[in-house]
């Protein structure tokens, strides 16, 4: 939608600039033409100059040569009419034959504002009478009849501006009317393109000037929707398949585990046999964890396990997970130490308690699984202004820089889009990452200051209750 208004703004801008440019061009052009067509010397001035120059001498009237030459050059004739007798008392040589030699008062009034026999005439006042210059026929327009209302001329500048403004508005309206159809067709198309990018289905009416484009967009949307639907079906089928297999494996595994547990505790068996049974129990538990992990990982990956986020106290959650582990009394070789500051008793986050507990359990279980000879596990929670940091680390065998780099930066084989036979790490950490991503947080894997492995979960904090 932004692009449409931008487009309209740009079109209108260009149009306004064009109008201003045309006005300037026109005004300049007419100004030049006007200046070029205005005689350098006004015929009224010429008449007055001639009247002033004409002198009455003892021998008669005398016109200086330079004035006479100017008149001749322009093919202008001149007569002097006496004030009292209204007879021509002096004339130039080139006065046409049909020019009267005697004038009435009305003749004088006529020649002053108009013509004498088609010759445009101009008058100048001389002490000896009225000097009349006759210019060649068709050399000047004399607006003998034209006259304007006073206000019309006085308001001319204002009127010109109003006319220009009205013209501009009219042009704009014509433009808008002409283009509204085009803009009307563009709007649904831009909306459609925006919806396409957000993945929603698009159906644009296929009419107007851009019908072809609308057809193509509708078709693209159809293809995208079909592909998305197929992908969804595929993902659901995959997650359901994993869930189905997990379900089918659970009952037989229950029997394996339970019988092995009975054998492990049987007093009738030898120590070696009991150890073998214990190994079966241990491996069955691993299989059980794997099934659960696989199921959860696939569900989180395909968004089939929506997170229910609520305001929770992170410290309380971490404390409960640790206590659950300690209460299980799995092995004395894995003591867990609480390292959070005593002063920090509440750190609110938006969390899905069950899944966050699962993530923290996975990290503690990882420390146990990867340190056969035992290790101390350290758990802590701290906070800054914006985040809550949950840290699970150990003093066990740890990992190399290279391994840590892989864990931090390489996608897990389960969500890797290239073929790979390399199983970089178990599902435990993948699930942790998926869960923390769902909490808008991040997971940082590093060396621990205690010498082993460290995983920090950073989750946005909620400021108050």
């Amino acid at each position: 939608m932004k692009s449409i208004s931008k487009l309209i703004r740009r079109f209108v801008g260009i149009m306004m600039l064009s109008i201003i440019f045309l006005v300037i061009i026109n005004v300049t052009f007419y100004a030049i033409v006007f200046v070029k067509n205005t005689p350098a010397f006004s015929p009224w001035d010429m008449a007055q100059q001639t009247a002033d120059a004409l002198q009455l001498t003892d021998t008669g009237f005398f016109l200086p040569d330079d004035i006479a030459a100017k008149l001749k050059e322009q093919n202008v004739w001149a007569v002097l009419i006496d004030d009292d007798t209204r007879k021509v008392t002096w004339q130039t040589n080139n006065v046409p034959d049909n020019i009267p030699m005697r004038y009435t008062l009305s003749d004088i009034a006529n020649l002053t504002r108009g013509y004498v026999d088609g010759y445009p005439t101009f008058t100048g006042e001389s002490p000896n009478g009225l000097l009349v210059l006759g210019y060649p026929k068709d050399s000047f327009w004399k607006h003998t009849r034209a006259s304007w209302d006073y206000d019309f001329i006085a308001n001319l500048p204002k009127n010109i501006i109003i006319i220009l403004a009205v013209n501009t508005v009219l042009i704009f309206l014509i433009y808008a009317a002409a283009n509204s159809k085009l803009l009307h067709s563009i709007k649904p198309i831009t909306n459609g393109i925006q919806n396409l990018s957000s993945g929603s289905p698009v159906c644009i009416k296929e009419k107007g000037v851009l019908t072809e484009l609308a057809e193509k967009i509708n078709k693209t949307s159809e293809i995208l929707q079909k592909q998305a639907e197929q992908l969804r079906k595929k993902e659901t089928a995959r997650a359901n398949w994993i869930a189905g297999v997990s379900h089918d494996v659970r009952t037989p595994l229950s029997m394996v585990m339970s019988y092995a547990e009975q054998l492990e505790n049987s007093k009738n068996l030898s120590e070696i046999q009991r150890k073998k049974a214990a190994a079966i129990v241990k491996q069955s538990k691993r299989m059980k964890d794997l099934i659960n992990d696989l199921n959860l990982a696939s569900k989180l990956e395909y968004d089939m396990q929506p997170l229910t986020l609520k305001q929770e106290n992170a410290i309380s959650i971490v404390r409960q997970v640790i206590v659950d582990f300690m209460n299980m009394e799995i092995d004395d070789s894995f003591p867990i130490e609480w390292k959070a500051a005593d002063t920090l008793s509440v750190c609110y986050i938006n969390a899905d308690t069950d899944l966050l507990k699962r993530a923290i359990s996975n990290l503690i279980q990882n420390s146990i699984n990867h340190n056969e000879n035992g290790c101390v596990i350290y758990a802590s929670v701290d906070e800054d202004n914006y985040t809550c940091r949950i840290c699970i680390e150990d003093n066990g065998i740890g990992a190399s820089d290279e391994q840590i780099d892989i864990l931090n930066n390489t996608p897990h084989y389960m969500i890797c889009d290239t073929n790979t036979s390399e199983q970089r790490h178990g599902l435990g950490l993948l699930i942790v990452k998926q869960i923390i991503n769902g909490h808008n947080g991040k997971v940082i894997i590093d060396h621990s200051e205690y010498g082993g492995f460290k995983v920090m979960l950073i989750i946005p904090r909620q400021s108050t209750t």
């Binding site: 869930a243 997990s246 379900h247 089918d248 659970r250 009952t251 595994l253 229950s254 029997m255 394996v256 585990m257 339970s258 019988y259 547990e261 009975q262 129990v281 069955s284 538990k285 299989m287 059980k288 659960n292 199921n295 396990q305 106290n313 410290i315 309380s316 404390r319 409960q320 640790i322 206590v323 300690m326 209460n327 609480w338 390292k339 959070a340 005593d342 008793s345 509440v346 209750t465």
Partner: protein, 234 residues
């Protein structure tokens, strides 16, 4: 903690897999349960329940002639007793459905015998209280019915909060109870910020149950995490 009386409770096991039925049966009987009956279908379970009058039912969800959820509803019509689901259906929806219908616990296969026993005992303890709740500690004895402690022949009364806290600790005897769980037991749903009050109550409880409160042997602190009540004979 004396749980002997719970071993007399009647338990009904329902699963269509005979092998698994045998396993759970032997796990329970080897632990000491004397009254355990099994059934392989909904029909069998209803008949057995009629005669046996169980006090706990352990049900599978998928049965040949129906499902465990419907079975639970029918069983509960004839008697109010706890139900634990033991099933391979690990979906959250199934779990929620089970709990929604009134199940007391939900375990997903495969399970460890130890965990099953622990959960069964926890349900029984919750539902069938000891008629004589006298708890023997190292240096004293708690009488929950009278809300008092007997130490060196002296009867020391417990306050309501001390009673609540000791009850939670006793129900989880031998296990750590988090600071948050204790605060919740004493102060309800929004228990954060009561840690100092909790410490004060724990100190007073120790003065009542311990010989030397500064070196406790029955109510021990697990630094930063919680407390653990150690009961004699447990």
């Amino acid at each position: 903690m004396n749980d002997e009386y719970l071993l007399n409770k009647r338990i009904l096991l329902v699963d269509d897999e005979p092998e698994l039925l045998n396993i759970v049966f032997s796990v329970l009987t080897e632990y000491g349960f004397q009254n355990v009956k099994t059934a392989k279908s909904v029909k069998e379970a209803l008949e057995e329940a009629e005669k046996f009058r169980p006090e706990l039912a352990i049900l599978d969800v998928m049965l040949p002639d129906g499902n465990g959820f419907d079975l639970m509803e029918q069983l509960k019509k004839n008697g109010s007793y706890p139900v634990l689901f033991l099933t391979a259906r690990g979906e959250d929806d199934d779990k929620f459905k089970g709990f929604g219908l009134g199940a007391d616990d939900y375990m997903i296969k495969p399970f460890s015998s130890k965990e099953l026993l622990f959960r069964v005992m926890a349900i029984l303890r919750r539902c069938y209280k000891d008629e004589n709740p006298l708890v023997q500690l190292h240096n004293s004895r708690i009488d929950f019915s009278r809300a008092e402690v007997l130490k060196n022949g002296e009867h020391i009364p417990l306050t309501a909060k001390e009673h609540d806290l000791l009850s939670v600790l006793y129900r989880n005897a031998g296990r750590i109870v988090t600071i948050d769980a204790l605060c919740e037991a004493a102060w309800g749903d929004n228990p954060f910020g009561y840690e100092n009050s909790l410490m004060a109550h724990i100190r007073r409880i120790r003065e009542k149950i311990e010989l030397n409160p500064s070196q406790p042997v029955s109510l021990v602190t697990i630094k930063g995490l919680g407390y653990k009540l150690i009961v004699e004979g447990k």
